[in-house]
Structures are given as C-alpha cells and as structure tokens.
C-alpha cells in the first residue's frame, strides 16, 4: 500500500479533528458584523460604566493602602493622597507574622487544589463512564448537597475535625476540603461530552480504566481542570469562615484570618489592613489574569451544560 496521500478532506465531522479547544463547550455562536461607525461594540457604552463601578472598591483599597492613618479616617474620603506611603507595605508585612500566614495559606490552597483535581476527577470519571448499581441516585444525592449552605454543616464538620484532633492545625483546613461536590459535578459534565470512542479505543489498545483516565481523558480535559483549579484556588485562598471556626492559634492562621489583627477593638490600622489586603490579593490576581480564558469559558460551559 503506498504512497500518494490524497489531499482531500472529508467533509463530514470527524472525531479526530476534535482538538482540546473544540472539546470543551464552545458556544459555536456566529460573530455578528460590528457597526462600522465605532471602533468598538456599542455595548461598551453600557459595559464601561459598569466596569468602572466594579473597579471603584479595588482602586479604593489600593489608594487607602498608600495613605497615612489620618488620611484614611478623613471624611469625605481622600481619593488621591498626594504623597504615597509605600512603607505601609513593609510595615504591614513586619508588624504581624505575614510571611508565616502567607506560607500557611499557600500550603492549604496548593494541597486542596491538587487533591480536588485528583479526587474530583476520579469520582467524576466513575459517574460519567462506569456503570454501577445506584449511580444515578448517588449522583442525585451528591448534587443535592450543593443546596445545603455551609452554615448548616459547619457544626457537624467541626465535631468531626475535632475528633480527628486537627483543630488549630492546617489539617483542619485541608481534610474537609480534599474534594468537593461542585468539582465532581463540573468534571462529570465535561467528561460526558468527550467522545466515548477515544476511551474505547484506548481500552482495546491495552489501557486499564485508570490509564484511560490519566492518559486520554485528563489530557483532553485541561480546560475543565484549569477551571476547577482556578475556582478552587479562589475559594480556598479567600475562605474566612471555616478557618475562623477551626483555627485560633496565630501560627496556624491563614492570610484572611490574620488580616483581622489590623482591626482590633481599640485600634484600627486601616491603611495597614488595606496594604495587607493588596498583598494577599496578588497571587489571585496573577492567577486570574493568567487563567482568565479558562475561567470565563468554564463558567460559560457551566451555564450551557448545567
């Protein structure tokens, strides 16, 4: 059998053309021609004021972090301090164990994100592809737990964590969050959209179920995994209530708990608090900018598939 490779493309939709970008829920909407008289869409007239409104608190945080304490207490608020107090940042960093809290938060967030990627993927693959008794009922009940607010389960969870002697350790923040239902749901829905023939081909080619998951399914699910990682990172990094309940030893504080110490009953170092806030926001901002494409698309996918 030889040689001349015909340069004819099959017109039918062929599975093999599906690259990762096509696999993850693009809307397939047709772009409309833009109005000619503007260099941008008229929608921007609506979106720009909304964006400004959304940005005001963020700008205010940054401005306040560069003011003196007296300026922060001035009324009406000073929106342009004139001279910037850059040393608020080193002061905020050194007046409390900021570095320690930063490391704590990083450890908790990294472990929780990594474990969620692994455990949610395993569970989701089971729900998406493996036939077992009671699957649909189990999935339904799992999803139903999404409706229960954290305040309802916080006491039983606390008691379990206490039984495990994890109070005042980072384990208290990690163990209850090793996997979450939202992640299982997100990945299950995504896995279901992958062409099953790819997995069947891999199984015939000699791959076990686990290998199919790790060699075929997960590499094709990078957009969904990135979405889950970003969402989980945001949740864990910003979590305040659960650390507040389980951690009261300063050395085990996370950033969000630690920032409280600038806000005592007698002293209120608003400028240092805001400097701390800006510093604690930085990793999230960097992550969000880097993964924005996946994050937005992931949310859009949810909207379509959920």
């Amino acid at each position: 059998m030889s040689g001349v490779v015909p340069d004819v493309r099959a017109k039918d939709t062929i599975l093999a053309t599906t690259d990762a970008s096509q696999l993850k829920g693009e809307t397939g909407m047709v772009e409309r021609p833009r109005a000619r008289w503007l260099p941008f869409s008229p929608w921007h007239f609506l979106l720009m004021p909304v964006a400004i409104i959304m940005l005001v608190p963020l700008v205010w945080v940054v401005v306040t972090s560069l003011e003196t304490l007296a300026q922060t207490q001035h009324f009406p608020p000073i929106l342009w301090p004139g001279s910037f107090q850059w040393n608020n940042y080193p002061r905020a960093w050194s007046s409390v164990p900021f570095g320690r809290w930063f490391v704590n938060t990083t450890i908790v967030t990294s472990v929780v994100v990594a474990s969620n990627l692994v455990f949610c993927a395993l569970a989701a693959y089971g729900f998406a592809r493996i036939r077992f008794f009671g699957k649909n009922v189990a999935y339904f009940f799992l999803l139903a737990t999404l409706l229960i607010p954290i305040q309802v389960v916080i006491i039983p969870t606390f008691l379990i964590v206490k039984q495990m002697h994890l109070i005042n350790t980072l384990g208290a923040l990690i163990v209850p969050n090793l996997a979450n239902v939202f992640g299982i749901f997100l990945l299950t829905q995504f896995f279901r959209t992958l062409p099953i023939e790819l997995e069947e081909a891999a199984r015939i080619d000699g791959a076990s179920r686990l290998k199919v998951l790790f060699r075929i399914v997960l590499p094709l699910s990078l957009p969904a995994l990135a979405t889950l990682a970003v969402i989980q990172f945001l949740w864990t990094w910003n979590d305040f209530l659960w650390p507040l309940v389980t951690i009261y030893k300063e050395s085990a504080f996370t950033l969000q708990l630690g920032l409280q110490s600038f806000q005592g009953s007698h002293v209120n170092d608003t400028n240092l608090l805001m400097a701390g806030n800006v510093m604690s926001m930085m990793p999230m901002l960097i992550l969000f900018i880097a993964a924005q494409r996946y994050f937005v698309r992931g949310i859009a996918t949810q909207g379509l598939k959920g």
Partner: protein, 372 residues
Amino acid sequence: MTDVVFENVTKVFPGPMVAVDDLSLEVGDGEFLILVGPSGCGKSTALRMVAGLEKISSGKIVVGGEVINDIPPKDRDIAMVFQNYALYPHMTVEKNLGFALRQRKTPKDELEQKVHSMSELLGLEELMKRRPGQLSGGQRQRVAMGRALVREPRVFLLDEPLSNLDAKLRVQMRAELKKLHQRLGITTIYVTHDQVEAMTLGDRIAVLSAGRLQQLGPPQDVYDHPANVFVAGFIGSPPMNLLRGSASGGLVEAGDLTFPRDGVGDGDVIVGIRPEGLRPVGPDDPGPGFEVHVGVVEPLGDEVLVHGTVAARDAGVRIEPEEATLLAEMSDRAAITVRLEPDLRPKEGTGLHLRVDPATVHLFDAASGAAI
C-alpha cells in the same frame, strides 16, 4: 490459528431490546468476513462484543479456541478501527501509532522499529509529527488502521471505516484495505452497510437483519442465490425488483408476466428480477416479458438506469429500517428499476418492452419470504 466463533450469541439491551439474536457463525483463520445489514440490525453490536466493549447476554464467543466472554478488552489482543477513527487528538501520529505498544511495555527499540515499518507500509512517514487535527480524512484513516495493526493483533475489527470518506477516496481506500489484508492475512471482521464494500472486500458476507443472521456465504453466491426476500432486496444496488405473483400448474404469473417454472407448488409467490435481468425487445417478441412505463431515466455513463412501473402488484417488501415485512399492497402498478446498456435511452413517459429470462428470475414464498 485465530478463528472467531459466535455460538448462539444474544445481546439484549435494557428496554428490553434484542440487538443480536442467537447469532451463530464461524470466521476462519485469516478470513475477511463482512457483516452487512441495514442500520440497527445489530452488526456493530456483534463487532463490539468481539472487542469486549459490550457484554454478551447469552452464548459465547470463541477466539483461537479460547472463550473470551469474560476477558477484558485490553487482554483480548484484538484491534479495532472505529467509524470516526477515534485517534487521540492530543497525541502526534507517532504517539498514536505507538500507544498500544507502550501499553504493552514493548522495549523502546522494538517499538520504534514497529512504528517505523507501519508508517512505511501505510505511507505515513511525512506525517509522524502531526496531530490528527492536521490530517486529511484519508490520512486519518491510514493512521487509524496503522494504530490497530502495529501490534499485530489476532483479530482485526473494522466498524464502517470508510463511511466518513468522500466517494473517490473510498474507492482508493477500499482497494488498499484489500491489499493490506492479502499482505498481512489477519482474521478480519468488517462491518458495513455499503453494498459495494460488502461485495468487493470480503471472502464471505454475513447478512443480518433485526439481529438475526439471514445468510452467510461468498458475496457472489449471496447475490446470485439470496436465501430470502430480505437478502434479495438488500444485496445489490439498485436492489432486486420484487413483484407479487402466483404459481399455478407450473406457471408463474405476476401482472403481465407469465413464465413456466418447474417444481413450484401452487400459491402466492414473490417474483424477484435483478435490474440487469431485463432486456429491451420489440413489442412482438414472443418470450415472457412485460411493458414498463418509463418514469425517470438516469444515464450513469457506463449504464442507464430506468425507473418506471409495470402492471403488477408490488411485493411491498420494506428493507429499512426494520426486518423485511410483507405488506399486502393493493396498487395495480409496481415500481421497477431496469439497468440498460449506455447507448439505450428510452424516453420518459413512453412504454418500454422488456424480455425476462425465466432462468434468472428468483422466486420466494409469499408467506415466509424464503427462497423457493
């Protein structure tokens, strides 16, 4: 020695829906068997049971003397090409070809050598670093076959592998497939609903309908001697003309057509005439024949197809999508298709006298549909 034996294999899907019904057939070592039938007839399900992708409800499948019912797909040493190829989109052609060998922990040198020789065999050397998305339909097809063949499987399964290609490429790939099989000699089961693939590729064809085996034999035998009215209507393109008739005293009658046939008991019959079994003659020709009212003329270059009607009752055999059902059609005219030499162009709306060679006419029992 790798033969594949289906022993009373049945597959019932929840519903319940019987996809494959008591299928028994044997595929010899190195044989190229075609499973053919209309969509939903269970041919793909039969193939997937051999691959291990569907559980067998009852019966057993024996490959090379070993019952494989409970062996997981990865341990069956069977390769399959899917209709949509199922190439791994995130891997290069080279990685796709070597995937199965890597799963089997093949030593690196051997793996590279096998992938290289397969790429040479299929003319893929230039494409090794590309991903499936960057290949044309025909190239993808080759990669899919290469991926399946590179590990030298005991049995090679193909599920409508050419259906995603355009007509020209399909002809080319069909010939290449046949050559490849002759060269490698692997036991092959090929699923298709395409008439031409069924007739040209296989050593034998198995015609399925509603999960049941209708006929098994060499393609020409099946074409020349269809076992029942379903096979007669399904194999052949355009299909056999089927008319309702009756036999009485050694004479068969269907509308205007009357001809003698020995050994046929009295009663209702279905008369089957291939489109090429009709020859235009003058109106005074004394032999058995009838007049066709010409509806549509399709000149195809090497032949002319004439679609029209004759004064007879249509047998009402419906092939798709379900099993052939015999319907009592009360219309006094039946549709008919005639294949003529390319220089003959009857005018639409006119009458065309046709002679029938009684020896080429097939007769089927009107009640059971079985060939007489």
